[in-house]
């Protein structure tokens, strides 16, 4: 006969409430792990999905995600000449915040190297990949944009032609894929008056020089659009991505790094940059918080089990009086602890599975983390029952006569 189950049956309401309380506490522990896993996944998602073997960024920076990076568009042609490199792509990344229907809309804008890269590596939920060099956009579902929706960014209008899922940047913002040209236009989204003022300043500077007097055409050229003036044009990329023949990545990285004006990382190096920076601090913070919650859960469970044991002291004394060995008493408390732990874990999983997808950032309940938490709950249950067991073993059979 299982005494633990019989006792629970007799106090079903209290047991259910206890499990609910413990479960919600464990859900917090589970959520902490899930938040960390989500941050790691978000941070490395683009690096993992984009399929680049080598990331070429501005010299001595940790770009393009860990910090800002600026490289010239011509870098793509240089990278393409490196032995072993089979393809080189432009890459532009920046984050913007606009308003949509009265609410803030944060977009992590990723510029793809049109026409080589149309975003085909991103999983589509609906719509299609980019089919033209301008004014099309693939949006992550988390942005809340609708397929076919027209989005005004700066002076241009972009139409949502595809919806992806789970594509977010390291900051948790949903990604909007456009071509590099459009990404740059969005980034340098200057108002007409700002453009006019900048041109006027340029002409004024040129007029003060002697050179325009000797070559008047230069003054005329100074008022042309910036894009037509190589000396002042601001066309930059954040990185160039290279695809390399198998086994030649390390050599390509060494070659590119030797140029002196850029730094090069393989995909693993790029992941390490992301995880070793801000994510490492988040990991530590969440780890400490998770440990704290685990300790609190243990204390709460111990107090609950101790109280449950106190309620049963007379029955325990009676069991000892009629000759129950200590293992029966121990089993009664231990089994209840494990049942509360198991039921609490189930509550935590069920509640978390329902609640976490509604969180603003991703909370990933990974199999390894769930298994680890199951072991933690087992340990918590065992440790928490010690107080109750110690009390129960001290009860004298004579107390049944009191």
């Amino acid at each position: 006969m299982n005494l633990a189950v019989r006792d629970i049956r007799h106090n079903a309401g209290r047991f259910l409430l206890t499990c609910l309380g413990v479960g919600l506490l464990l859900m917090m522990v589970m959520g902490m792990g899930g938040i960390y896993r989500g941050i790691v996944e978000d941070a490395t998602l683009l690096v993992d999905r984009i399929g680049a073997d080598v990331w070429v960024v501005q010299r001595d920076t940790r770009g393009p995600f860990a910090e800002q990076s600026r490289v010239a568009p011509s870098l793509r042609d240089r990278v393409a000449t490196v032995p072993g490199v089979t393809a080189a792509r432009e890459f532009l990344f920046h984050t913007i915040q606009r308003e949509r229907r009265g609410a803030p809309l944060r977009l992590a804008v990723v510029g793809l190297s049109w026409p080589d890269d149309r975003g085909a590596w991103g999983p589509l939920l609906a719509g299609r990949h980019l089919a033209q060099g301008h004014y099309e956009l693939i949006a992550d579902r988390s942005l809340g944009l609708e397929l076919g929706e027209a989005l005004h960014l700066g002076r241009e209008t972009y139409r949502v032609v595809g919806i992806t899922s789970g594509m977010v940047a390291s900051g948790g913002d949903g990604v909007a894929f456009v071509t590099v040209g459009d990404a740059r236009a969005i980034q340098l989204d200057l108002a007409a008056e700002a453009v006019r003022a900048e041109r006027a300043a340029r002409v004024a500077r040129a007029a003060r020089d002697e050179l325009p007097a000797q070559a008047p055409a230069l003054l005329e050229r100074a008022s042309a659009p910036a894009g037509e003036l190589p000396a002042v044009e601001g066309r930059t990329l954040t990185a160039v991505l290279a695809t390399v023949s198998p086994g030649r990545t390390a050599a390509a990285v060494r070659t590119i790094a030797s140029w002196g004006d850029v730094s090069a990382f393989d995909a693993e190096g790029q992941r390490a940059l992301l995880l070793g920076g801000s994510v490492a601090k988040v990991r530590l913070q969440i780890g400490l918080f998770r440990t704290l919650l685990t300790v609190i859960a243990t204390i709460v469970m111990a107090l609950i089990l101790y109280t449950l044991t106190l309620d049963k002291l007379h029955s325990i004394a009676l069991l000892k009086l009629i000759g129950a060995p200590n293992r029966v008493i121990l089993g009664l408390i231990l089994e209840q602890a494990l049942l509360i732990g198991a039921a609490g874990y189930a509550v935590a999983y069920a509640a978390g599975s329902w609640l976490f997808p509604r969180f603003p950032r991703r909370v990933i309940l990974a199999g390894d983390d769930l298994a680890q938490l199951a072991l933690i709950v087992l340990a918590i249950s065992l440790v928490a029952s010690l107080l109750g067991i110690a009390k129960a073993l001290r009860v004298a059979p004579a107390e049944a006569l009191a």
């Binding site: 000759g323 029966v328 006569l401």
Partner: protein, 248 residues
């Protein structure tokens, strides 16, 4: 110990002293009692006379300061020293019934009996059947699946008796088992002890204040100031119907 046939209970020169110096209290002094198998013995005496001390001592709950105890021919206590695993011995050789029924509140009547059987190694299915049969025998079979809180005082006490005798103990110890019952029901319980002692060959020592049912017992003792002495012979039983085991 004597050289006669093994008794169900043989207590010899039991003394129990609490405290030291000025707080020293002798709760039981030089008490000896031999109870044969099948015998039912009543223990009378005012509160604080040492009855419960004697019962808990021979019940292997409260060790004596001096004296010896043998149960079913097995020496178990020599002074405060245990000569065997007392808890296991209690499980197999002793049955307890108390003033309050002392049933485990979260177990049904049947489970309260079944747990005693299972603790002694009877398998779950056999223990369940045996517990049910025992409750039927004691007239509470129809209440087997009810919790103690759903039973009357008399029914609870019958279930407690069923638990006490479940493992066929050599000795049943009862501490005022009829205190919470009215006269007729109290007598029914006392007669139950006698019947069980006769049919199962167990001895019973019953502490009681109920003088109306003393005729049920083979012998009656009185305790006063921790000393035990034979009481006056019980009055002859009045003619009447034979003992009834109908449910209370």
């Amino acid at each position: 110990m004597s050289g006669r046939a093994p008794a169900a209970l043989e207590a010899e020169a039991l003394t129990r002293v609490y405290g030291e110096g000025e707080t020293r209290v002798v709760a039981m002094r030089d008490v000896s009692l031999r109870v044969a198998a099948g015998e039912v013995v009543a223990l009378l005496g005012p509160s604080g006379s040492g009855k419960s001390t004697f019962l808990t001592t021979v019940g292997l709950i409260n060790p004596p300061t001096a004296g010896r105890v043998a149960i079913g021919g097995v020496r178990v206590l020599d002074g405060p020293r245990a000569l065997t695993d007392l808890r296991a011995f209690r499980r197999r050789q002793l049955g307890f019934v108390f003033q309050k029924s002392n049933l485990i509140p979260f177990l049904t009547a049947r489970e309260n009996v079944q747990v005693a059987l299972e603790l002694d190694g009877t398998s779950g299915r056999r223990a369940r059947a045996a517990a049910h049969a025992l409750l039927e025998e004691l007239g509470v079979g129809d209440r087997a699946e009810h919790l103690p809180a759903e039973l009357s005082g008399g029914q609870q006490q019958r279930v407690a008796v069923a638990r006490a005798i479940a493992n066929r103990p050599a000795l049943i110890l009862a501490d005022e088992p009829t205190a919470a019952l009215d006269g007729p029901r109290g007598r029914q319980v006392m007669e139950l002890f006698r019947r069980i002692a006769r049919e199962r060959g167990a001895a019973a020592v019953v502490v009681t204040h109920d003088h109306r049912a003393l005729d049920v017992f083979d012998r009656t003792y009185e305790m006063e100031d921790g000393a035990l002495r034979p009481a006056s012979p019980p009055p002859a039983p009045e003619p009447g119907p034979s003992p009834s085991l109908t449910p209370a």
